[in-house]
Amino acid sequence: MSVDSRPTSGRQAVAARRRAAALHVWREFVRTRSGVVGLVLLVVIIVIAILAPVLVPAESLDVTQITAPTNHPPMPGYPLGTDPQGRSVLGMLIWGARVSLLVGFAATAVSMVIGTSMGMAAGHFTGTSRAVIMRVIDFFLVIPGLVLAIVLSSVLSRGVWTIIIAIGVTSWAGTARVVRAQTLTIESRPYIERAKALGAGDRHLLVRHVLPAVLPLVLANTTLTVGSAVIAESTLSFLGLGDPTQISWGSMLKTALDTGAATAGYWWYVLPPGLAIVVVVLCFTLVGRALESVLNPTLRRR
């Protein structure tokens, strides 16, 4: 076949164009040093979190089988010392990464789905439905997210999914606003008018034309949101709203507060979980900002 290298249908042409665009974004992204540093660190942390059961056998954190002294500073075999129950702080740190990252990603997914659909709807529809959607977005923008998340996770039964829902439901409004703005921009372009003239309905316009155009922005927003979701998770766990059966960085710090580890000077138990949170959040912020500057050319000149 002579047209082997060329796309044979419209759909393939679109796919090829998107691949090229993605490749371009990737090349630009690789050029930002801070973004690459953040990405590499994140990949390392994610791999460690996935390998946690291999690196730190669950039995070694079983309170009933522990022989190590409690609240002991770093010593051979326990590079970060032990917690008030004699568990290895390093081991707990590695296991804690699982919950923190899981909640971070899942809550962000919830938040992105709500934010993108609400934002697109607010930008696309007119009249009463637009007014109603805008009010809802404004409400969730204004309301103190942490307090609402506290209410939700107090009322629902304790668990990882409750936290994910509580964070997801309270953090989507910023995304919705960005997506709405982008939707308005897209829909003012001539090709949308052409599609409308050809009889495209709401569904077709939103799914086939608007969604692909807002997705890059949503992607940049996603990485930034994961960071704040990780902080939100640790805050809720710290307040005692997390899953009591799981170790997370927030719940480690809660134990630290409850047992007076800070005022007793047990630095090896207070410092590591917080540092872990800071590193993860900083990585997501670096990647997010780098993506943003690649995807949003108006920011590049700054």
């Binding site: 404004d138 103190p144 506290i150 960005v178 982008q182 630290a256």
Partner: protein, 357 residues
Amino acid sequence: MSIAPGSDALARDEAGIDTPGDAAGPDESGPRGSTLPRYIAVKAGGALISLAMVVVLGFFSFRILPGSDPAINLTRGRQVSAAEVERLRHEFGLDQSLIAQFFRYVGDLLTGNLGTSFVYNQSVSSLIAEKLGPTLLLTGTAALISITLGLWLGQRAAWRRGSWFDKLQTGTALTFWSVPTFWLGLILLLVFAGMFHLFPAGGMTTAGSDETGFAYILDALHHLTLPVVTMVAVVYAQYLMVMRASVLEEMSADYLTTARAKGLAEDKVRTRHAVPNALLPTVTLIFLHVGGLIGGAVTVETVFSWPGLGFLTFTALSAPDLPLLQGTFVVFSTIVILMNFVADLLYRVLDPRLKAA
């Protein structure tokens, strides 16, 4: 032609480093060219609708979500007889329809009745009134310091964009921004209370002391230091970033060239011309960030056992004491909505261009 709304909102979103707070730019839905009374009416209407949504959410999230039967929740972890539960059901009007219950709740709310706390066995509104003072003292002090610091550093950083000062400031701010508030509090506790015993570990005054006058104020200030430092460190970053972006926006403006052309010193160009104009969008953002301050108050007060609304929320959620939690939710949200309304009004009053339009 209508690329404007999109790009405008995007630029504003970039100005802040957090997604929620600042995104509620006051420019969004207000009719720009309308008269002042009409503008106020529209904004007040929006605030009232938000308040109504808070009440609805506050009522229904405690009643219709799975596992939210108040009679069960209120007695969670307590020994109660069946008769007691029945009495509670009647007290909460659970034997009536949901709609009837809702109107009863709204009626109570309008008369300032937020229910009775189980832990304190006291009316929720009197508890909240009691704790409001300490919270205002803490968040007010922290807000004042962080706004001053953030705005000052932000305009300096923007003016010397790309310099080591700029990089250092934005880097520090971003790092603090990534720090969970409560962890920073724990660190300060660890260093200044645990290791060096320079500051008390918690509370608002030394327990058991009956100092008065000046000694009392000194004691309270001593207790106030660590919580305020914690809040400032986490919060000032957003003011810095907003101010920096805002000054950067002004820096390419023609009037600065004019100012320089007529021979003004660089410092004067900055303080007399660039900064006042850059302050305009920033001032309203200050009020929009109140929500973030409240979130910070909950965790900071928890770490330092500061006897305010945030600590009250913490005791309410750990009990759990749902009427109290419901009360603090409604009060916190009301404060934030009112502050937002103030931001909208300020925005209109401060920007002469909008008035003339």
